[in-house]
Subunit: 237 residues, 2 copies
């Protein structure tokens, strides 16, 4: 098997250092954007359109799309919902198209558009992702959305979980991938306890969304993998 590269980019502000044209990029924003995207697509949402700004989201107001906007962990006033996974149940999103803007996740997706393929990752679809990736010939870049370009623990941890699953699959890891996989190795039996240490966990606690956190840490709840097709995320066939 030809050796493939597995790299981890710990912040969108470092993405310019990587050549992603021929790579599959997996975008990671565990609390909560990419978890909710995975859950929504698994629950039959027709598509999710990630947009950069609240204004861009608002411009879809005369369509029958659901509009979702989150900034600093809260639903933006005047919008249907934000990025809580509980807003992405089958009841709410099946057959619908959702336009979504978030603090970090949609930014990271937009920065990745020149990649060969852009996938969306979360603990919810971890094994589905790793199974699919290991059968592809491409290099892989795991892109952590972070928090306003700073490195965060939950996204690094998930990058590590995915790297860990790809450890004996012919990939050459870069230093960030080794670092992330080691982090996951330490934390794997108590993800929730480990993440209680994080800054974002405190922030989410203040927002009273601990249930969202617990939800986003469920491993392999679904099989669906969102993929970017033009300007919209759809279910990978």
């Amino acid at each position: 098997m030809q050796q493939k590269n597995l790299e981890v980019c710990l912040s969108p502000a470092l993405l310019h250092l990587y050549d992603i044209k021929d790579s599959i990029v997996v975008v990671i924003d565990i609390f909560r954007a990419t978890s909710s995207m995975c859950y929504g697509i698994a629950n039959g949402a027709e598509a999710i359109i990630p947009v950069a700004s609240v204004e861009a989201c608002h411009s879809y107001r005369d369509t029958d799309y659901l509009l979702a906007a989150e900034r600093n962990g809260e639903v933006v006033e005047g919008f249907d919902f934000g990025n809580s996974p509980f807003s992405y149940t089958a009841e709410k999103v099946s057959g619908r198209t959702i336009v979504l803007t978030t603090t970090n996740g949609t930014h990271a997706i937009n920065e990745s558009r020149e990649a060969q393929k852009v996938l969306i990752g979360s603990f919810l679809n971890l094994s589905a992702l790793s199974t699919w990736l290991k059968n592809q010939p491409n290099d892989v870049l795991l892109l952590c959305a972070g928090w306003k370009n700073k490195v965060n623990l939950e996204d690094s941890l998930f990058a590590g979980a995915l790297a860990y699953q790809l450890q004996n699959e012919g990939y050459k890891f870069d230093d960030s991938a080794i670092l992330a996989a080691d982090l996951y190795h330490t934390a794997q039996y108590d993800l929730d306890g480990f993440l209680k240490k994080t800054s974002h966990s405190e922030r989410l606690k203040e927002l009273k969304i601990e249930a969202d956190i617990a939800f986003c840490l469920q491993v392999d709840l679904i099989d669906a993998i969102p993929v970017l097709d033009g300007d919209r995320l759809v279910k990978l066939a």
Copy 2:
């Protein structure tokens, strides 16, 4: 005790995200710039002047300074030496001023100049640094020089070692500090074995400088801490 912040910046390309005006910044470039700086200052070098470019270094050619230039792991042609710690023995540097430019380390120092204080860290002066820091009232930022702005394992690991020593000293850790400290926790009993996994280790191996690596991983060989004073690094009083 008032709570202080301990943050880790894993790449110079992320430094703009941090407000360092009132912070002590510790610059880290384990293989090999900051290890050699610490060793040189411990061995009686009067000062080390870090400069950004080979040209800037060359402009000191009519002085009695020692000129040191490294690019991509090798001594630049026409210079006295590069950044091997074995070039920074007492015999070679005692009483001398050295002008030094390196691929990553001197760049990180230059980017940190607006900090309240800039210190130089390495495994060689780990405990001296942590002992000194814990008695200061300031926030601390550990700046990893990385490799051409990419995150690397050895600098992250040392940041983790220093964070680990400061764990019960009243600091609030950011996510990167938690991540780095966890990494060190895993690797502490076999730094060399752990770092054999790194990309840079392979690169250094090709350059036949394994002895340099082993040297740079010695913990607490010296007590000296280089500090930036104007445009030169001198021994912290």
